[in-house]
Symmetry: C2
Subunit: 332 residues, 2 copies
DNA sequence: CCCTAAATTGCAAACCTGTGCATTTGAGCA
DNA sequence: TGCTCAAATGCACAGGTTTGCAATTTAGGG
């Protein structure tokens, strides 16, 4: 039919509008340099002909690419250390907020990231900034990244050194809330279940123990999975002749593992022992008996992470910020 | 320090290697045109100086961008219709396989997709192909996409018309497996719980009913959430004076809703009524009592989806393919 | 030693846009 | 009218890579 199957370009719009190509470029960017009505006319023509700018060329010319990489540790993959539905929810909120801000979301699993230096990814894939999810225990690498001027934010625990910007929930406060709740319930001997090498969990424990007045046991588990917390609790119960009357688990997934172990031992919940989780992830609602938990506001988290990252990209420096946590009481 | 802070480019490598820029370009692509030892030398120099090609420029020049969009319906977002941890697992596997194939993963939530025509996204964001996850009931749009020559694959139910390529699990077979299991258990009256406007669920039901010889009730629910299946079952039990002795729920999430309802009514599981889910998602393992379910192999799914999409992008046409499903028996 | 083909390499155009600067246009004013 | 000034637009180049084609070098055969 037509002379060439070539997709429509900026030159074509320029010709149709009877102006030069640069004018079209400026018009589409909303530059104040170009006359209002010309601008409007050009826009109308572009729209009618279904023209959209070529991102590759645009990216090449500007240095900014409008691409944010989200690095996440996927569950159910061989080398995954952290696996929790909570991260999925967070990912959804971040993705939406990035879309609102006109940013593309480049999804990376930690596995693929570890294979090549992150800096490479930046320039190679044209990534403007990075959001790390669930990267506990990588402070070294992250600090090095920050020193190299890579713009990024992290979801996680508040860092000791303020080398980079972290957004997280107020884990310490969350832990205190749980302690208060246990106290209200009249419990006297508590146990915390969680890995001892995980920053967020450590803070939750620290908050809890600062508030808790009764007996306190800490049960360290090797990872945050359902299985390992279940096994750990079973083993503990086997080797002791008493049991705590309240257990605070570092996450909902772990809490359910704890519940499973308690039930297996014939304890009745919550009369013999009450259990509290963390995250307010779907499983804590669906589980029966449903679980009292500490909610982290993932929607606010997504918005805040994105906002801070954008500012960091602009060159501003941003303080870390911990979101308010909230106790969700459910029958247990 | 140095003259310019300009990032290292192909010209620099060329100068260092004492060759021209095009030669470097070809060497890095592994072109057979360039001498083996020259190639090796150039590669070594590039590596040593940490040079990586500028993707924007590369994309501009080639027409291919090596970017695959994954469109997913995130849970816990306002307009989300489908929300299941199962999709998270699938996403992880797809993401990994795409990384293996050297493709970037552009993550899109359905919300942002619906706001602008998909075709725009393609050229604007430089997307080479799309993978749709959980897009049941969009056949119209998808067919139109296919007719416009957009390369994409879908995870979901086998389509009536073979206009585009779908990968999914063999839902019908999955349903049959459940029916067999119920029969083995000596159950006589069954109920299927699931929405009646969801293709995959319909097939699961169809498979089930083709194999099931006993009494059969179909309980239609409005969406696939925990809440609505729980409510539906409660309501049903209230308005009937008997109950089935086996329930097949369209997904694990729904199965847990069903369990919750049954327990609320004081039925004991599995003696009064056995329940079976679908997906083998984490919650089915963690739940207590843990749930018999039908497993879909998400790892194979990811690999297959990606492989087919790549071929479609190359221009080949691909048949839809349903993966084998497998019954996972757990105490219930 | 000359000729031809193959193996390498370099030249220059092309991909599509953004932007500094010069140029044109038109208005306002003495 | 002649001048200045601001607004609007166009020119031309830059950005980093790929690739068709020409040019050069090398090897092999007569």
């Amino acid at each position: 039919m037509t002379h060439k199957k070539r997709p429509i370009g900026m030159v074509d719009i320029a010709r149709l509008a009877g102006v030069s190509r640069p004018t079209v470029s400026r018009a589409l960017q909303g530059s104040p340099l170009v006359n209002e009505e010309t601008k409007e006319r050009i826009r109308e023509i572009a729209l009618r002909h279904g023209y959209i700018v070529n991102r590759s060329a645009q990216n090449l010319r500007r240095k900014r690419n409008n691409v944010i990489a989200v690095v996440i540790d996927f569950p159910h993959l061989p080398e995954s250390r952290i696996s929790d539905p909570f991260h999925f929810e967070l990912l959804g909120n971040i993705s939406n907020e990035l879309a609102n801000q006109g940013q593309d979301v480049l999804l990376c699993s930690t596995q693929s990231v570890h294979s090549e230096p992150l800096e490479q990814m930046l320039s190679s894939k044209g990534v403007d900034g990075i959001i790390f999810l669930g990267q506990s225990g990588e402070e070294g690498e992250l600090t090095s990244l920050a020193n190299n001027g890579v713009p990024f934010v992290v979801w996680g625990a508040e860092p000791q050194k303020k080398e980079y910007c972290v957004v997280g929930s107020n884990n310490k406060r969350g832990g205190k809330l749980v302690a208060k709740r246990f106290t209200e319930l009249g419990r006297t001997s508590a146990m915390f279940v969680g890995p001892d090498d995980h920053d967020e969990m450590k803070l939750r424990f620290s908050g809890f123990s600062s508030e808790w007045k009764g007996a306190l046991e800490e049960l360290a588990v090797k990872d945050i999975s359902f299985q390992s917390s279940r096994d750990a609790v079973l083993h503990w119960l086997d080797s002791h002749d008493w049991h705590p009357d309240a257990i605070f688990a570092g996450s909902d997934t772990m809490a359910i593992g704890v519940l499973s172990a308690l039930k297996a031992k014939g304890l009745s919940i919550p009369s013999d022992c009450t259990v509290c989780g963390y995250d307010d992830s779907p499983i804590s609602i669906y589980h029966s008996p449903s679980l009292t938990t500490v909610k982290q506001d993932t929607s606010a988290a997504g918005i805040l992470l994105v906002a801070k990252l954008m500012k960091i990209i602009e060159g501003e420096i941003q303080e870390s910020e911990m979101l308010r946590t909230e106790l969700i009481e459910r029958e247990t």
